[in-house]
């Protein structure tokens, strides 16, 4: 992953600074000729992860296609905050039809372009987690199965935010939503089977599946660019914190997106033709509490009547991901994966307190769980 080879870090974070990079390696957002596909003036909340993710995704896709891009959008926050008639924040051809049909509308656009011999124009379809993993799921699976030339991007903020934070099929266990309130014997969302759409997409053996977060925006750009080099159905699942729905501070959006990956709760990986070919390693392992504590949707797990048992179950989920995807730098099962096992650049930089102990602890947890 090209973005991982950057060896400079800004103080206190692990994000590569654009200023330190040669121009060709800088983010699309750092370029004067960026397309501003989702331009300023829209009505997203302060700290909206979805707006940030969509901006990076579309500008990267616009750059990859030299501006020959059409977007189909599901109903949801992204659609509502960007197009209050007669205003529009979209600076590319964009269509919104319904909540559950963005993949099929994308298919229709792609079919039209094929019939017209305009396959130089590419198609992106996008929606939130409700529009993707729930109501649009049949259309998404159909798109994958048929092999249509559409990149589908899911911006996952783990609930129906646009309608007032109701539970979706992507809502994590224990999370408070307006339909899974912290009342009754099992407060928050149930520990269910989960609905991991990236893995379901992989089961369709489509050419490209990736996950990303808005904490690692160069990684997101890289994945979009890579996806646009491929024909056929592609799927990118972007983790986008929602300050409104999660009860988190607007300033913590990037922090939460970083922590969700560093805890192992959201594995960041790439898969080609149904097989994982690369994972973003955890650089500074953290227990799930650090991620949960910043969000009021998990407040019922802390405070006067702490639910250590529930937190432990969430930690188990993170540990399972760490094991399953080989997310630690010394994870033996990651040795065969293209990544950075043993790459010195990925070792945590000195000066972060408690780092090595925590690392050891998690590594032991990991081994113990096997």
């Amino acid at each position: 992953m090209p973005h991982q080879q950057i060896k400079f870090y800004q103080a206190g974070s692990f994000v590569a600074g654009n200023r330190l990079l040669p121009p060709e390696e800088r983010s699309v957002q750092a370029r004067m000729d960026r397309s501003n596909s989702l331009t300023s003036g829209h009505r997203a909340c302060q700290g909206c992860g979805e707006a940030l993710g969509a901006r990076y995704v579309l500008d990267a896709a616009m750059r990859a296609t030299e501006g020959k891009l059409i977007a189909a959008n599901a109903t949801g926050c992204l659609e509502v905050f960007s197009t209050p008639y007669p205003e529009s924040s979209w600076r590319l051809p964009w269509i919104h039809s319904l909540f559950g049909n963005a993949p099929a509308v994308g298919t229709g656009v792609a079919a039209a372009l094929r019939a017209k011999g305009r396959e130089d124009v590419r198609v992106i379809a996008q929606g939130g987690d409700g529009g993707t993993v729930d109501i649009g799921f049949a259309c998404l699976s159909g798109l994958f199965e048929r092999g249509d030339d559409v990149l589908y991007v899911c911006y996952d903020n783990e609930a129906y935010m646009n309608t007032g934070v109701q539970r979706s099929g992507a809502t994590p266990p224990a999370a408070r939503t307006s339909t899974t309130k912290p009342v009754g014997p099992e407060p928050g969302n149930a520990f269910g089977q989960g609905k991991n759409v990236p893995l379901i997409a992989m089961a369709h053996e489509i050419p490209y599946v990736a996950t990303a977060t808005v904490a690692e925006l160069r990684d997101l750009e890289y994945k979009v660019e890579r996806a646009m080099e491929i024909r056929g159905p592609r799927y990118i699942h972007v983790f986008v914190p929602c300050p409104f729905g999660w009860g988190s501070a607007s300033r913590d959006t990037i922090r939460l997106a970083r922590l969700v990956k560093e805890t192992g709760l959201f594995p960041v990986f790439e898969a080609v033709n149904g097989e994982v070919v690369g994972v973003s390693k955890i650089r500074r392992p953290v227990p799930v509490e650090e991620y949960l504590k910043l969000q009021r949707r998990y407040a019922h797990l802390f405070g006067d009547d702490p639910r250590d048992d529930v937190i432990a179950r969430l930690q188990e989920l993170a540990d399972r991901n760490i094991r399953r995807f080989g997310l630690l730098t010394d994870a033996p099962e990651s040795a065969g994966l293209p990544g950075h096992a043993g790459d010195a650049a990925d070792a945590p930089p000195a000066g972060v307190e408690g780092e090595s102990n925590l690392m050891r602890m998690l590594a032991e947890t990991h081994r113990g769980a096997q």
Binding site: K68, Y85, S88, I95, S97, L98, T107, G108
Partner: protein
């Protein structure tokens, strides 16, 4: 070219001649033969350039058509019954966005109880979806209406539904005059969308519209539908000039000139009605028939003009507003408001129950003898219904109505005829 052809294949031929660029479909009886015929043509390369997309639902079929049409392609799909209901949300979206999609509805009953045979419950349920609705009387007209539908849809930028009676037309072999490609090309210009998704000229389609403008956008749809009332007869006469036969239009009267009684209907049942009209005319009865060819927009003035001089109107319809009465009947009464005409709704042919000449003779005799009420049900087995109602009134577990009624009838499985 004259050919003995199945209705579905005639429709497939007409659609292919219209050079659609994207066809998407999900299989449902009795629509299947139409899209099979089109799939064959695309696979053989006879219809090119055209993409045939096999989708996973009717909701997806209409959504693919929406995407394709918005990207500037001539888009077509076909469905029936449950399929039409399953795409209902997308139907309203296509009309709201003003996308000139053409769709065949192979008219079929809707469940429960599940039933694959013909009536108009499906398309009538979507009469207010903003789509133009044309009803074919014969296979020839089904074919011809599709050619006219693309022209109408694209002139107005509105979607058009061509309603063709399932099985009765779609699966019947009749002699049809198949148009040649050059004829259709001369009649139907290439699709030049008013607005499309194009990177060279980016537009936002499908914005969120609040109370300040929603009403106006919807009113524009109504205005376009009213505009269609002028365009439909013009396109029908252009068609007649180009192809040498009359098809389509808004309404078509049959022996209505001096008729005191006029029977109003839609679709294939008109043929049977006209046969009975001929019989009665021979007996000196002043009776005629009026076919409504275009139900949306509703040709209020034409219906009024055609029926104004009749004292009695019988509306024979294959669907109804349960709990109210006839749907077409309500519209006919609207057209006749203020006139001294008695209107009788007759619900008939539901779930494929045959509408026979014999039944019509008896029905019309009742009407002529002033024995017909405002709402009646042709060949409804009253005794069966009453016994089931009695059983329900008697109490106990309600049980499944459909099964009870089949038991009453002494059949173990549903039969078509």
């Amino acid at each position: 070219m004259l050919k003995q052809e199945e209705g579905s294949q005639a429709v497939a031929h007409a659609v292919a001649m219209c050079r659609p660029e994207v066809i998407c479909a999900y299989p449902i009886s009795p629509q299947t033969h139409i899209v099979e015929g089109l799939s064959d043509r695309v696979r053989r390369g006879d219809l090119s350039p055209c993409e045939f997309v096999s989708v996973e639902s009717e909701f997806a079929a209409m959504s693919v058509a929406i995407g394709a049409s918005a990207a500037g392609a001539r888009a077509y799909t076909a469905t029936a019954s449950q399929g039409l209901l399953y795409m209902a949300e997308a139907l309203y979206n296509a009309s709201g966005l003003g996308l000139p999609i053409v769709m065949t509805v192979a008219n079929r009953a809707i469940g429960a109880p599940i039933n694959i045979w013909n009536d108009h419950s499906d398309s009538m349920s979507q009469r207010d979806s903003g789509w133009i609705q044309l009803y074919a009387e014969s296979n020839q007209e089904a074919l011809d209406l599709h050619v006219q539908a693309f022209k109408l849809a694209e002139e107005l930028s509105l979607p058009v539904m061509v309603c063709v009676d399932g099985f009765i037309l779609t699966h019947a072999f009749e002699r049809v005059d198949l148009p040649a490609q050059e004829q259709v090309d001369a009649f139907l210009p290439a699709f030049e969308p008013r607005q499309m998704l194009d990177p060279a000229d980016p537009v936002t389609i499908g914005a969120m519209v609040g109370p300040e403008a929603y009403f106006e956008v919807k009113y524009l749809m109504h205005a376009k539908q009213l505009d269609a009332l002028d365009r439909i007869p013009r396109i029908a006469s252009e068609f007649e000039e180009a192809f040498g036969r009359s098809s389509g239009g808004l309404v078509r009267g049959y022996r209505t000139e001096d008729a005191e009684t006029i029977v109003v209907a839609l679709g294939s049942v008109l043929g049977t009605i006209e046969d009975v009209v001929d019989e009665l005319r021979e007996q000196g009865v002043k009776i005629g028939a009026l076919g409504i060819k275009c139900f949306r927009p509703y040709p209020l003035d034409e219906v009024r003009a055609a029926l104004a001089r009749a004292g009695r109107v019988i509306v024979l319809e294959k669907a109804w507003a349960i709990g109210v009465g006839g749907i077409v009947g309500q519209n006919v009464r609207l057209a006749l408001s203020g006139l001294p005409v008695s209107v009788h709704d007759v619900i008939a042919g539901l779930g494929g129950r045959p509408i026979t000449k014999r039944s019509l003779r008896a029905l019309f005799a009742d009407a002529l003898a002033d024995r017909l009420g405002p709402l009646s049900f042709l060949d409804l087995k009253r005794d069966v219904v009453e016994r089931e109602l009695e059983r329900q009134t008697a109490g106990g577990r309600p049980g499944p109505h459909a099964e009870n009624i089949l038991k009453e009838l002494g059949v173990v499985a549903a039969r078509s005829h």
